[in-house]
Amino acid sequence: MAAMKQIIVEGKTYTVEDESAALQGEGGTMLAPWGKNETLKYVGKRFPKKVAREKVTGEAKYAYDVQLPGMLHARVLRSSHANAKLLDLETSAAEKLPGVRAVLSHKNAGKQPWDRERAVFKDHVRLIGDDIAAVAADTEQIADDAVRLIKVKYEVLPHVIDVREAMRPGAPKLQPYGNIWEGKPKVYERGDLAKGFAAADVVLEETYTTSEQHHACLEMHGCVAHWQNGMLTVWDSTQGVHLTRDLLALKLRLPISKVRVLNEHLGGGFGSKNGVKEYHVIAAMLSRATGSPIRLFLDRFETFLLSSHRPLTIQKIKAGFKKDGALTAIDYEVIGRGGAWNDRGMYWAAPAVGSPTNELYKCPNLRTTNIPVHTNLSSPGACRGPGNTENLFALEQFMDEAAEKLDLDPIALRLKNFTAVYQPKNEPYFSNGLRESYEAAAKTFGWQRRKPKSTVEGTKRRGIGMSAVHWHGFEGEPSQALVTIYPDGTVEVNVGIANLGVGAQVIFAQIAAEEIDVPLEMVRVAYGDSAGTPYTINSSYGSRTTFQGGPAVRMAAADAKQQLIALAAETLKVPVADVQYAGGVFAAKSQPEKKANFKEVTGKLGWMQGRHLLIGKGKRLPNPAGRKVDIFGAQMVEVEVDTASGNVKVLRAVLAHDSGRPINTLTYESQVQGGFIQGLGMALYEERILDAETGVQLNANYHEYGCPTALDIPDQVTVVPIETHDLSNNINAKGLGEPPVTGAGGAIANALYNATGVRIRDYPITPSKVLQALRAAV
């Protein structure tokens, strides 16, 4: 029976699990969260990433760099129609090409399923780019040439690309249940909507659209697979070695013991490299067929076309307010463009959970309707801050529009509707630093100097705007870590994670150094190999790596330290309870002259001393029940709009983020700056432009797609960490990776309005849209 306690939040009493009892548990190695004012030596400080040294010398090996003796290169033949049946497939010319080692298609490998709906190699393609056949050859060029020699005869069927078109009666039906995913919209409701609107003094309704942003990772998607002696080894460009291993084993019907996935360095993920794609299975099949290692990477065009993307959304928000700004009702609908197949991508087309509309503002009467729609396109996927980003780009413009109508300051309206309670489950948050974020951002930015309208004349107009930041935290899924202590004092943290490059390794090293009280240089972190690491995280998504793995690492370090103290007691010939440890020295409390330093004690370990190494085990305990983890913040920007060209330039940004306790303030800043710039890209430039007829992406290259460059960034991007004392886990962390993207769109659009008096509700805010709006406003 969990120990419960009562807390009062916003005048109401809630019964929640007592965190000190929940996280302390039994056995002495389970830990309470660090105290609010606890002095920490390593945590909360700036430490550069150790692995950065390998990266600046070019030594770091990514999956893209893996070259094995006898390695073959693979390319895939992809469909050139958006919906078609294969009448004939002729591969003999490809097979005869010198240097070709294997050609696979539904004809000779048709039994390998991809999911419940389809095989890896299709005989009925549903989108341009669907996998039809694959070639392994001595070089990539030969494989490419061979793919071109394969002849396909199609029976072309009707298809649909436009999302509204796909919803109309008579549109080509892509799934047995129709084109709305699983047959009907997903609806969430609370309170009484009609009553809420009846009570409103002001009702506002607007529609917003967001574009298909592509992850555009610098390292393209792909892997090197080697099937040897019944064992499959995959060097993968992945966000999680364990998830990729588990899913490959499942798809290929192999025991987990026969699949090993490695990732030493990852060249960008942002949500696009979780789990497995067809190319993983194809590489494995080609390796099995040839006996050679197979390298299969998508090229940049294929990556843009197929690796997943943020969905296009059309969002309608209708809300009622009292004169004082209090929300009385929200009716929200999102249509999201999905792909042809009934896969996980349909969930990401219009995510039904974590919606800021449901959670961010106190609103008793609310309905949200999510409508993911099938079209003959590749599936969308989780793209940094999925769902919340699209939603906040709309909601935070809407709040500013409402503030103007109500004649309130934008921050005042948001504060009026602040809540410390997670409304869908009526649970208080462990922590909510939203108010502190507004306050700190406003102070750093100089928000009080904001004027309702720009006063600058001429073609350059300046304005300022803000947005809230929101991301949903997690509940603390199972996560394990090991900490091994070696005879020379080396502390090795062993974690099952890939290396996204955002600093999890240095963060875990800091946590272990803190708990064991050893210099950071003595800690090394082993990771990146599914065969040699515990299950720390299935894959690094959801901003969870520190939040999940950090508490497990701390517990493993504490366990190792307890064992060290026992060894010190033996060394000093005193009872365990008599040993105290600080600053690298073990001493007997009763006889202070009896002492041994860290390495004298660890020197007793190892085969030469006939003793085992010390291995500390740790796990992530679930968050104490009854409360919710969410992540908050506020972003403010100043923009300059050139009314002659329509260009919008962000001059400066202040980004205040509540992510619980910051563990490494250097990597923290870098994460927030980088996330914000991805949001800026989505707000102003980035969009997959598709041919309306076929769905082929017309700008499937970096030159035309429009990722921000060093010329597009603000002169100043100031990061303000808002430290809340979160009690959901023993390191007080909440997660940081995704929230920084979410506020950019609202803040920039609101600043544009402040500068020019025009609203662009259709992202990205391109110069032509700005010029059109300015002309229409004259």
Binding site: G58, Y62, M220, G268, S670, F676
Partner: protein, 153 residues
């Protein structure tokens, strides 16, 4: 296959290449120098940037044969005797590296910039790096690192 001679980071190598093979491919597959990266193969992202006779080029669209008789420098040549160059050191210390896939190219562009212009303005740094895409850092700490390396405190 054609045998060509390349001078890379001060050493001379014989490399077999196909007609039209890119310098990037010759470096990576022929010489095993995988520091220069391929992010697009189309000359857009700058991850493959190397320095040829003092000028930066996108090695993915530069024919290997064209580099004969010229001095090619790659990221592997920046450190000497295991000691990082001041620019490399600044990238590490200022937290300018996240995933790192753009960094070899970014460092070559920044190296060429500082050799050309040892005291670049903020605008010159940004312009000098504008051919190199980074998707992780938002550039702020990269610009900061170049600034720091340009004017040692």
């Amino acid at each position: 296959m054609i045998t060509i001679t390349l001078n890379v980071n001060g050493a001379t190598h014989k490399v077999n290449v196909r007609p039209g093979e890119s310098l990037l491919s010759a470096l990576r597959l022929g010489l095993g120098l995988t520091g220069a990266k391929e992010g697009c193969g189309e000359g857009d992202c700058g991850a493959c940037t190397v320095i040829i006779d003092g000028r930066t080029v996108d090695s993915c669209i530069y024919p290997a044969g064209e580099a004969q008789g010229k001095k090619v420098r790659t990221v592997e040549g920046l450190a000497s005797n295991g000691k990082l160059s001041p620019l490399q050191e600044a990238f590490v210390e200022h937290g300018a590296v996240q995933c790192g896939f753009c960094i070899p190219g970014m460092l070559m562009s920044a190296t060429a910039l500082l050799e050309r212009n040892p005291k670049p303005s903020e605008a010159a740094i940004r312009l000098g790096l504008s051919g190199n895409l980074c998707r992780c850092t938002g550039y702020a700490k990269i610009v900061e690192a170049v600034r720091a390396a340009a004017s040692p405190a």
